[in-house]
């Protein structure tokens, strides 16, 4: 353990009891196996994130004298169940009684709690071992306190479900009874921690724990950002420039101000491009309630100066992407001689795939409340990124980030949209404009669709060569898509390492000649993260094309896929030209083709692959590694004579390493399957004259209950020991769904759909 620091924070600390001090350090550095001796060791995983990973029990655990155990969760809860799973791990490792556990939510403070950026399927992947250390340290402190009280060696004290036991004397103390004494003890050093025998886990890996927010959610008591109410609070909506990069022209607010309840119309400045996380500017209507604000906004008279993206048109842009995909581009991976192999191949197969922009469209639209007091700002909001929020709010208010307090509410769906705090910055600016009164800013659904950070749009062109026996000899993939990087940096025209590493460069195929190219694409709107990000277009194209090659080779698609994956082996992602690997250690998190094979074989077996189906039905298979996990799906479709598509069944096999909360892993995969179906069948955001063409759920359709797969079967691969590396869970279920679905449509109908969404392409 290290020294005492920053006592000023004591008052707000969730310590084990009064009079505790705060530890700093003790985190250590994860030494990457591949690091060069003369360099600082490269950090991976949670240690490489801003703020790193903290494992001090005094930050996360508070035990009251009555035994109530309060566990602080510092990750955003947006439906992945992290508040439940997080507390489960600490409680189990402490040997605490779940019935006595409460969960509190940490404010945004990365210096203190470690990284809070809840995206990238990282919460458990980065924090599971730290949570065990927290629980183990707290348990050992409690045992030591009991030993001291009894005057016996700590080795004679056992911990038993919220109690300390001295078997020899038959004495027993509840956790709460020694809480204060335990709090006064030093935190045990990491190397002295003894972890619970996993065979004795009550909660971890068992999945029979109810959601900690289940009661509040089912009774309407759960508070999301949009639900925040503060004394004296005002309500606002903003009219924003309809074209990205546009700004306010002429305007007249007189009629808006006549609407009863409207108090003020505020001009918000437009940030210059690239605008990153900053708001788009426009005119804000501030009122006594949301309804008045909405009515006031309708009465604004505004003309906009559209700026450089006024001609963004999705049809024309698609043609540009296709042209780019048909010419050589920047080579991002090259093995052998693809051109020569394609020329001499017995069969040469070419296919182009199109995946449009998508909007995350979380059911809770972006919303937050803010109150500015002097040079300080308090935020109540649903955000995936409290630290980004602090920095962005600080920037627009010109105050230090430490002066921004972020109270994290439940997030009513994120899917990547709420990693961007533009809406929270708007709320902060409006509170300042209203002389420090709290202001709640709400996006309508139209605002959400028109002013999003959209999933990219892409054309993926693939060419493959087969020899006379149907063996693949050449693979050429050109991926063309505007990059998320362009949202933050001027002039970015290529996909970044993280985008290319999402299934474009890092295919493990047994093909002697393989090249991946990334021609240029210019961005004309705000591109951002959408659940599973670039894995969507890459997996759709790659896994569709594998099935197309199988068809050309006259092979079963599953067998062909397994041959392409080849034998089980551990591949350093760098050998696949993937320098990123989700920022995980390339050795501990090698590309394991055995695991990819494993999920393919499991999904196929469970789905009854190869068993006959009625006419009009078909099965498709696809597999994909993302976020350090492996997923394979078999989708079964039924297409009737009119071309109506239904999905009787989906089997998804999943290997994320150790499974912490099986119920939530299953839930994430159930949701990922239907979200994959949704984007494949219905999802499209398109532009005309620089403006989004979809206004609400009538034109931006998402899957509803009647079109969701009737029977989703999740097959979790047997989990290895709990010290094995964890993969991500929230996102990796999505990528294989669209290609498996379209491969199934082909199997059922002979029709190969390469342009998403399907919409009415199957209609007779």
């Amino acid at each position: 353990m290290s020294g005492i620091t920053n006592l000023s924070r004591r008052a707000a600390l969730m310590g084990l009891g009064a009079g505790t001090f705060i530890l700093a350090g003790g985190l250590g550095l994860a030494v990457g196996p591949g690091a060069l001796a003369e360099d600082a060791p490269k950090k991976y995983g949670g240690d490489a994130m801003p703020g790193g990973v903290k494992d001090d029990p005094r930050l996360f655990v508070a035990l009251a004298a009555d035994g109530t155990l309060t566990i602080l969760c510092h990750r955003a809860e947006m439906g992945q169940g992290v508040r439940t799973s997080w507390a489960m791990v600490i409680a189990d490792e402490m040997d605490a009684d779940w019935a006595k556990v409460k969960v509190d939510q940490a404010p945004g403070d990365e210096a203190r709690y470690g990284n809070q950026n809840t995206d990238g399927s990282r919460s458990m992947r980065h924090h599971f071992q730290a949570l065990r250390r927290i629980g183990a340290a707290a348990r050992q402190m409690l045992a030591q306190a009991a030993a001291s009280q009894w005057g016996v060696p700590v080795a004679e004290v056992t911990v038993d479900h919220h109690s300390l036991v001295h078997a020899a004397s038959g004495r027993r103390l509840g956790f709460g009874e020694v809480a204060a004494a335990a709090a006064a003890l030093p935190v045990p050093a990491r190397e002295t921690l003894v972890f619970k025998d996993p065979a004795k886990f009550r909660y971890i890996g068992r999945g029979d724990v109810g959601l900690v927010d289940g009661f509040d959610i089912t009774t309407g008591r759960a508070t999301y950002g949009i639900d925040v109410r503060r004394d004296n609070m005002l309500y606002a909506v903003v009219a924003r420039p309809p074209v990205h990069g546009g700004k306010l022209g002429h305007y007249n607010v007189d009629e808006a101000l006549q609407v009863p309840g409207v108090l003020k119309v505020v001009v918000l400045n437009t940030a210059p491009l690239p605008s990153g996380f900053l708001p788009k500017g426009g005119l804000a209507v501030v009122a006594e309630n949301t309804w008045a604000a909405l009515k006031g906004r309708e009465k604004l008279k505004v003309t906009w100066e559209d700026g450089p993206n006024a001609s963004y048109d999705s049809a024309a842009y698609r043609a540009e992407l296709e042209a780019a995909a048909r010419a050589p581009g920047q080579v991002v991976r090259n093995v052998g001689d693809v051109d020569g192999a394609l020329k001499s191949a017995a069969k040469h197969v070419t296919a182009e795939y199109y995946i449009p922009h998508l909007a995350q469209a979380p059911m809770e639209p972006p919303a937050a409340a803010a109150q500015v007091t002097g040079d300080k700002c308090e935020i109540w909001g649903s955000t995936q990124a409290p630290q980004t929020t602090r920095e962005t709010v600080a920037k627009v208010l010109s105050i230090p980030p430490e002066n921004v307090t972020v109270h994290q509410t439940l997030v009513g769906g994120g899917f990547g949209r709420k990693s961007k705090p533009d809406y929270i910055a708007e709320a902060a600016l409006l509170s300042r404009a209203m002389d420090g009164r709290p202001v709640k800013l709400t996006f309508t659904r139209t605002d959400d669709l028109h002013h999003g950070f959209l999933h990219t749009v892409s054309v993926e062109r693939l060419e493959g060569g087969l020899d006379a026996k149907g063996k693949p000899v050449a693979w050429l993939h050109r991926t063309v898509a505007p990059s998320i990087g362009a949202t933050f940096t001027a002039g970015v025209k290529h996909e970044g390492a993280s985008e290319l590493g999402m299934g474009a460069v890092n295919t493990p195929w047994i093909v002697p000649n393989l090249r991946v190219e990334n021609p240029e694409a210019e961005s004309h709107t705000r591109i951002g993260w959408f659940r599973s990000v670039s894995n969507i277009p890459h997996a759709f194209a790659v896994q569709s094309f594998v099935a197309e090659l199988a068809e050309a080779a006259g092979r079963d698609p599953k067998d062909f896929l397994l041959d392409l994956i080849g034998p089980a082996r551990q591949i350093n992602p760098a050998d696949l030209s993937d320098s990123w690997n989700y920022n995980e250690d390339p050795v501990a998190y090698a590309y394991d083709t055995g695991r990819l094979r494993g999920v393919v074989e499991r999904a196929a077996r469970e789905a009854g692959w190869g068993k006959p189906l009625p006419k009009g039905q078909g099965r498709g298979i696809a597999a994909h590694r993302s976020f350090a996990s492996y997923a394979a799906a078999v989708v079964q479709v039924d297409v009737d004579a009119q071309g109506k598509l239904t999905i009787p069944r989906v089997d998804i096999a999943f290997d994320c390493g150790p499974v912490i909360n099986p119920d939530r892993v299953r839930a994430q995969l159930e949701g990922a399957v239907t979200q994959g179906v949704s984007l494949a069948t219905l999802g499209e955001i398109s532009f005309k004259a620089g403006q989004v063409q979809q206004d609400n759920f009538d034109t931006y359709q998402v899957t509803r209950i009647e079109a969701a797969p009737k029977d989703i079967r999740v097959h979790l691969m047997p989990a290895p020991k709990y010290d094995a590396p964890l993969g991500g869970v929230g996102e990796p279920g999505v990528p294989p769904i669209a290609p498996a679905l379209l491969n199934a449509v082909f199997a059922a109908t002979g029709k190969r759909i390469r342009s998403l969404p399907i919409r009415d392409q199957l209609r007779a």
């Binding site: 439906g79 009661f215 959610i217 309407g220 469209a361 659904r445 119920d663 899957t703 209950i705």
Partner: protein, 161 residues
């Protein structure tokens, strides 16, 4: 002046009769369990009961409510133990949870009229409620579970057929 009841309490409203019930509930009454999702009756997040029938509160104005008994998620049961709520918790239906109040209100209305709904009846009744986390399989299972519970309770009370 408009008079109606809200979760059993008499209400007198003298403001703009065009105000949607949704914003009255959320901003005026502070009943934030009823959610805003689309504002155009496309997503069901704002579903409440009007005289027991499911309605979209974003498209129902206060002027429509004269003499109507409105029930929101907060008033569905005094203790959160409505069979639909219980089934929802037993099956851990919720992911983000944002749409679930609307889902529960639609499901509760369905079961009142159709104690043992078929899959098709569930689809019909629930089609207006979007869940972007796509908890649909568990919604379906929870409705069926609650249907069993409703049936058992009715049978054991001796008031059923």
């Amino acid at each position: 002046m408009i008079t109606f009841t809200l979760n059993g309490q008499a209400q007198r409203f003298e403001g703009d009769p065009e105000m949607p019930l949704l914003w009255y509930l959320r901003d005026v009454q502070g009943l934030t369990g009823t959610k805003f999702g689309c504002g155009e009756a496309l997503c069901g997040a704002c579903t409440v009961h009007a005289d027991g029938a499911p309605i979209r509160s974003c498209q129902t104005t206060l002027g429509d409510l004269s003499g109507v008994a409105v029930t929101t998620i907060e008033g569905l049961s005094p203790d959160g133990m409505h069979p639909v709520q219980v089934a929802w918790r037993e099956l851990n239906v919720a992911q983000c949870g944002y749409c679930q109040a609307g889902q529960i209100m639609s499901a509760a209305a369905l079961l009142k009229d159709t104690p043992h709904p078929s899959d098709e009846a569930i689809d019909d009744a629930m089609s207006g409620n979007i869940c972007r986390c796509a908890t649909y399989p568990r919604i379906r299972a929870a409705i069926k579970r609650a249907a069993g519970e409703v049936h058992r309770k009715t049978a054991s009370s001796g008031s059923a057929k």
